[in-house]
Symmetry: C2
């Protein structure tokens, strides 16, 4: 696949941390990013609602020319990956499996703590994926971390205190020997410097955004969708953004997540 | 209007604090509550999106028999009251005007601080309403308070610290003499005991949920929609709830806001 077109889907801004990781690992691809900002957050919604929204977005990206879909949203992956794969005719990669595999590689005790939104945790998608790799997981919902990141308090004393409370509960009662903290939400990479301070010294942070980018690279260079990697050109990738709510707000907040200026934003309406 | 049917609309759970106040002040009415839980929160969405969602909900409630609509959502009132009134054939009461009027009555310095979501604050609807009553207002967005309430941390040290930071900023620089704190979000009544501790001693809390309930009582007993109050029967009101996302979750979280058990919930789909 020379200069592949990759569609990246998220409920809003968080998936931009996955796009950021993809731009580092697969810089030669062209990217279409879809942020369903009019209907975010997915984290508090039911399976049926999330599946419906995610499939609409997947179809939209395919219609725009995406040759591979990255579901850069833990909630959508946890609740609807199966539905999205059924609704799509191109390869689909979610964020959970790659994160679980990296956690397995990073853990010696085969015990991991996973943090995420309420919906991701309730789905037990990480626990199932890790269990299949013989890693015992405790999943902990941290519903305040997304709003704290969106408030810009990524390195704030309040965020650190909230995180200490959440992680204190997560690593208690038999999980003191867990040696991996898996970031099961695409907002959390922005908290990494603070998290490094808060986690016990023996704990490795595994970031599902990075893990997913590496899985995409792998899928492009090998596996069933193999194309010889050397055929990939070194041209600079193009970026197009589609959002369902205000483009202006996406531009402003999105730059925090992507770590660079965002242009080329189109407002779309998925006919509600 | 004997045994009037009142439709109460909110993006989710917060409007239940308005319904709670209504049940105390106008106990003889029948209530239809619509919570647009599949699309919450409105607080971070654009005017166009909020107006569209709110008008759909208003039409739904009218079709169900509502003879009066209460827009129990500050964001929807701030961004879309005008649109909802145009789209409705029954009287429509929002939460902002009643809150502003109570603030005027409570203030001696004619200076008030208003706290709310980002969208409510950006709309400057409270500043305009208060300015028309010769009250100078500072509006302060407090985006973390809704998730803190939904986490159940209504009386938690972290919530108190976050509130101190927000209010410290709000009452600084020329607003030290403000003597009213207007709660411009329907989640905030749950924070009242904590807020009482945090605000300066000379500050009165004005709750737009209570203020709105009193405005509804007033509209039923006088004004253009006047019916003699004594004709109102003393039968116990009936409550029906309609939600766009999971009824189960609404039942669980909603009881916190309403202060009583919630039954009679119907899931509805506004055809998205």
């Amino acid at each position: 696949m020379s200069q592949p077109v990759i569609g990246v889907f998220d409920s809003g801004f968080g998936g931009l941390t996955v796009l950021k990781a993809l731009l580092e690992v697969v810089p030669e691809a062209d990217y279409l990013y879809f942020g369903d900002t009019a209907r975010l957050p997915y984290g508090s919604k039911s399976v049926e609602t999330v599946a419906r929204y995610a499939c609409e977005a997947a179809k939209f990206l395919e219609a725009q020319g995406a040759q591979m879909l990255v579901i850069a949203c833990n909630t959508a992956t946890a609740l609807a990956l199966h539905h999205i794969k059924q609704a799509s005719s191109v390869p689909v990669i979610g964020v959970i499996e790659p994160g679980a595999q990296r956690a397995k590689l990073a853990s010696r005790s085969d015990k991991a703590v996973v943090i995420g939104t309420e919906a991701t945790v309730s789905s037990h998608a990480y626990r199932k994926a890790l269990s299949a790799l013989q890693v015992e997981a405790r999943e902990k919902a941290c519903p305040l971390l997304v709003p704290l990141v969106e408030e810009g308090w990524v390195d704030h004393a309040v965020t650190e205190e909230v995180t200490r409370i959440y992680l204190g509960e997560a690593f208690a009662d038999g999980f003191g020997s867990a040696d991996v903290l898996l970031l099961g939400c695409t907002h959390y990479p922005l908290l990494k410097p603070m998290l490094q301070r808060v986690v016990p010294g023996h704990v490795t942070l595994v970031d599902s955004a990075e893990s997913t980018a590496l899985a995409v690279q792998n899928a492009l260079c090998s596996g069933e969708d193999a194309r010889p990697c050397k055929s990939i050109s070194q041209e600079r990738s193009s970026l197009k953004f589609f959002v369902t709510d205000s483009a202006e707000k996406f531009k402003r907040l999105g730059a925090l997540f992507l770590g660079q200026k965002i242009d080329n934003i189109t407002h779309v309406d998925l006919k509600e």
